[in-house]
Symmetry: C2
Subunit: 116 residues, 2 copies
DNA sequence: GAAACTAGTTACCTTTATGAAACTACCTTT
DNA sequence: AAAGGTAGTTTCATAAAGGTAACTAGTTTC
């Protein structure tokens, strides 16, 4: 008899796993948490501020990631009518709700690196 | 005069950002947190258990990700001398130290999805 | 002995991610 | 008018990630 895929994980646990999946669909990639972490620290930033602050990112990547996160409503983009015109990026409330995630990831990254 | 890249981020903040970078180097990819989360819930699992439990993953991917995480000392692989021989995978202490990260990511993912 | 189990590996292919550099377009300062 | 600022986009390229399916190799159960 063929062995069945017995999922003995409880529904509660499965919900947790699905949570990870949903989160990773939104947050995956080399730059997203980096950008979000930077915006968390600075409140409002212009495109060129982010480009200079985020070490190593190319304009194309920054632009694409910001658009991505705007679509997912983590980031708000506002054109400011200055001369020359500037664009402000800031976290939405959904973006700010990532604070705990970012804190834990950052803490773990520092500890992991120290224990090498 | 050319504009300089003025990093007005404090050293403390920069450390946080570097923490994110370190963490993402280890944890990036579609499957790693999924696998780690599953191992966190089950303590010890065999290869085929993981393959059946983790929905959608291919043997090749699972194998590669486990090797990756073994190298990074998040997962321990033990060959058990049963007949037929089996292989047990479990988290190391470094792997278990991801508990908070996984909890927060999972919580956020569930909330985010619910607020859609 | 055929079929199913164990734990993977290998080959081939497609898609996604990422990067460097040049370019647009418009405004301001020197 | 030249140089530098604003915020990007476009083009061209490579690297990394991920997927399918077949295959190895030994063990065990029907």
């Amino acid at each position: 008899m063929k062995k069945q895929a017995v999922h003995n994980t409880s529904n509660l646990c499965r919900a947790q796993i699905l949570g990870i999946k949903s989160a990773m669909e939104i947050l995956s990639g080399k730059w997203k948490l980096y950008i979000l972490g930077t915006l968390l620290l600075h409140d409002k930033m212009r495109f060129m501020d982010l480009l200079r602050e985020i070490d190593g990112i190319a304009a194309k990547m920054l632009s694409k990631e910001l658009q991505d996160m705007e679509i997912n409503q983590l980031v708000r983009r506002t054109v400011v009518d200055t001369k020359p015109l500037t664009v402000q990026y800031e976290l939405t409330s959904a973006g700010r709700s990532l604070q705990q995630v970012i804190t834990e990831v950052s803490k773990w990254g520092i500890e992991y690196r120290d224990n090498l």
